[in-house]
Symmetry: C2
């Protein structure tokens, strides 16, 4: 089973990496960029029987820093996972 975890900074948390990317895009002449936030994507290939609780647990204990980050779990169909 393919699972995608998206980890992003909570709203209001300063994102220096996003700001750097924003600044770089403007410097390269791309107009109209209003905001940039950078996060992580973690693609897991797990056994089919893996429970939602186990996935939640992985996120809370290792993949996301719950103090400053949120996570979102997406189960991918076979076509999306390609």
């Amino acid at each position: 089973m393919k699972v995608r975890i998206l980890v992003r900074l909570k709203p209001g948390v300063l994102d220096p990496q996003g700001r750097a990317v924003h600044h770089a895009l403007e410097g390269m002449g791309f107009a109209g960029v209003e905001d940039v936030r950078v996060g992580r994507m973690i693609d897991l290939d797990v056994a089919d029987g893996t429970s939602d609780e186990a996935l939640d647990d992985m996120c809370r204990k290792l993949l996301a820093n719950m103090v400053i980050e949120n996570y979102e779990i997406q189960k991918l169909s076979e076509t999306e996972a390609a």
Copy 2:
């Protein structure tokens, strides 16, 4: 307009970060994890008229390293972007 860029390593490219996460998950007792790949998610808030070509250009020139990475552009509806 909210746009999400997903940047991932091309298949076959060694992913030490993914391997470290995989190893850590196993060490924490999570069974059934077969593979882990770590990538980046970049959420852009761009002007509504921004063309697909401009977005492609941003990815190729700055956001992804085309030698070892692929990117995927997703346009988010307002609900998804929340």
